[in-house]
Symmetry: C2
Subunit: 236 residues, 2 copies
């Protein structure tokens, strides 16, 4: 906070030459810039905590402590913890689509199996995104403003369009088919990831009890198998 | 509570003829019976509240109020709200398997499409079970004793076996394939149900904004399409 204020004072001093209007506009810009830096620091702190221990257990107080702010100060940037994690889910969609679309474009072997593997691998490589995918419709979309939900949905629909366009190009999928594939991939990745990470105690129970061996879930192989069969069937 | 106590006194009176040991045993049985009735009343109250407003918003205090007990008294029967809903999820699996297995046995047309429709319809007909299916790995399995998780898993594995055996009989699916189908069906039903019931305000937003039309999810048709393609590919 001290650093930002210091820089702000310097800018204001420098801007005295430019007259009042310019100063105010520049100050507003600087202030907006500082606000954005603050927001990003909060999102980074939530990411660090969420990847360490799972989204479920991270509270607003934890995030405030991690970023070194008071909780009341943090609430000037975000409405709720759910808004923070919904923003991270939107960023996760952008990041996922941003990698998946070029990966699909660059595929030498465009068989359903190869496409399924690229989709599954890109999800498995993003454990916190998988966690967020399951949390979003259950918890995150339900404790934020309508405007936050709207912004989030527009990002996801945009990425679904971009990924879907590649699926149509590669396998001639119809619009309903491609949305079905992406919904299956993201829903399964979310649910299977939750099942696969039940916490150390329960995992130890599954491994120790011969009757519970089937409760151990491997996300990548199952996701790849299901998507392969689905894409093969659709590409028919 | 008054009714149970009244019956208890009558039984004790009657048992005086049988001597002390018999009385104690009978009292213990009666007491176990009363305990089970109490537990069932709590589960029924949680079911009523959960189907009305979704599992997510139901607290232990709500359940205690619905059943007409103090929260402290309720905690003598269940460890946490999660244990109550995990018991209901296990009951949901029994109920689902109990309908689905005979329905699959009785199928005149055993095509992948017909089988997919029976599975999807049986899930769509159980909205609270869909809600619980999504909640279980995220929230319910994480705030109960290991013994509760173990009991729950044994029930689900048992039902997966019974449903899976029918899938093998009908379509000659291998063990991995049949588990993949059931995991896909239950994971998708859970996730899609959550997406399809975002609450009245958000649903109104989706319907009013032309850019968000695709955010509206129809569980039954999508689940049927995905399972049909999956079963067709596996039966291939």
């Amino acid at each position: 906070m001290r650093l930002v204020q210091h820089r702000f004072i310097n800018n204001a001093t420098w801007l005295c030459y430019g007259g009042l209007v310019v100063t105010t506009e520049f100050q507003r810009a600087r202030s907006a810039d500082a606000k954005q830096q603050r927001e990003q620091a909060i999102l980074d702190a939530a990411t660090a905590l969420g990847s360490r221990s799972g989204i479920r257990s991270v509270t607003l107080t934890d995030i405030a402590a991690e970023v070194g702010m008071h909780k009341s100060a943090l609430l000037r940037y975000f409405e709720t913890r759910e808004q923070i994690f919904l923003k991270l889910t939107a960023a996760g969609w952008r990041d996922w689509g941003g990698e998946l679309v070029p990966a699909l474009r660059g595929l030498a072997d465009a068989s359903p199996a190869a496409i399924a593997r690229v989709i599954a691998d890109s999800l498995v490589a993003r454990p916190m995104f998988c966690d967020l995918l399951a949390q979003a419709p259950l918890n995150l979309e339900r404790n934020v403003s309508l405007e936050s939900v709207r912004e989030f949905k527009l990002v996801t629909l945009d990425e679904v369009d971009a990924i879907g366009a590649e699926l149509t190009r590669l396998l001639r999928l119809g619009e309903q088919q491609r949305v079905d594939v992406i919904a299956t991939a993201t829903s399964l990745a979310g649910a299977l990831w939750q099942m696969a990470t039940p916490g150390p105690e329960i995992e130890a129970l599954y491994r120790s009890d011969p009757g519970l061996g089937h409760a151990i879930v491997e996300v990548g192989p199952r996701l790849t198998r299901v998507l392969t069969t689905l894409l093969e069937g659709m590409a028919g």
